[in-house]
């Protein structure tokens, strides 16, 4: 056991994520899957999350903690690593919602880079979204972001 283990117990990024962290984490990964995440991207993510019932009782400080914890994991483990950690704890009924919003975020700039395509495929597998459903979601989100 390391000398500082008892002191840093509450500050580690290890350990299971909460449902709130897992949902936000998928969207943080989607924003960061092209290799970087801008502050305004985190800001617009927060705007999207605030509306959800899942975050009804979360205040500004909680949001900041959720976003900084998940973007910390993104930095250390990459987008796929973050997705894997989130998929472990995300309830089934939220997985499809997280996937749909993630695809919307990735497609928002109207371009899909090869690493973004690979990210969406990894995400669908990790969240156990069937190929048919994933295709349907992608087709609607592509059309949504065409304008």
């Amino acid at each position: 056991m390391g000398l500082f283990d008892s002191l840093f117990g509450g500050m580690e990024t290890g350990g299971k994520l909460t449902t709130q962290e897992a949902f936000a984490g998928v969207l943080v990964a989607a924003s960061g899957c092209d290799g970087h995440i801008a502050d305004e991207e985190l800001g617009s993510l927060a705007t999207c999350l605030v509306r959800m019932k899942l975050y009804q009782r979360a205040n500004g400080r909680t949001f900041q903690q959720i976003l900084s914890k998940t973007s910390g994991i993104l930095k250390k483990k990459g987008a796929n690593g973050l997705v894997d950690a989130c998929a472990e704890v995300l309830p089934k009924e939220l997985a499809i919602t997280a996937f749909t919003n993630a695809v919307d975020i990735v497609l928002a700039d109207g371009v899909v880079e090869p690493d973004e395509r690979a990210f969406i495929e990894h995400l669908a597998k990790a969240l156990k979204i069937s190929g048919e459903t994933a295709k349907l979601i992608a087709s609607v989100m592509v059309s949504k972001n065409k304008g």
């Binding site: 949902f23 509306r51 959800m52 019932k53 899942l54 009924e93 939220l94 499809i96 919602t97 997280a98 996937f99 749909t100 919003n101 919307d104 928002a108 109207g110 349907l136 979601i137 087709s139 609607v140 989100m141 059309s143 949504k144 972001n145 065409k146 304008g147």
Partner: protein
Amino acid sequence: MSIFDDVLQSGQFEEQPFGPHEAYAGILLASSACDGHIADEEVQGLVTILGRTRLYQHVTPQRFGSMIDRLLGVLKRGGPEQLVQKSVPVVPTELKETVFINACDIVLADGVVENDEKEFINDLMHKLEIPADRAKQIIQVLVYKNQG
């Protein structure tokens, strides 16, 4: 003869028809207002959505602002129905499905769908000539997106 007839001969104060910019934004504004009211922050949210849309990339902030004012004027005078009626014929064919999806997304964003909102979506689907099967798929995906 009205006192304005002489001074307003040029027609510069007459209402101009909508172009694609007005039409796209008009349908989204109507969808924000289809439950009978529109809050300032809803207009602000809409401005953010439109700001990201490539269609408005080359529109100056000043023109954009006056376009929103004009659309709000039509909404106030004629309601969402008139806004949709003036917009639909001018939406470019390739953006019909796009504007329909974004309109449904706005309506579903609060996680509840009232009867007048259902009617609005149904009516919009017919006017934009979205096939019913495709509209069903679209609604299904947007329900996924906005639950939770």
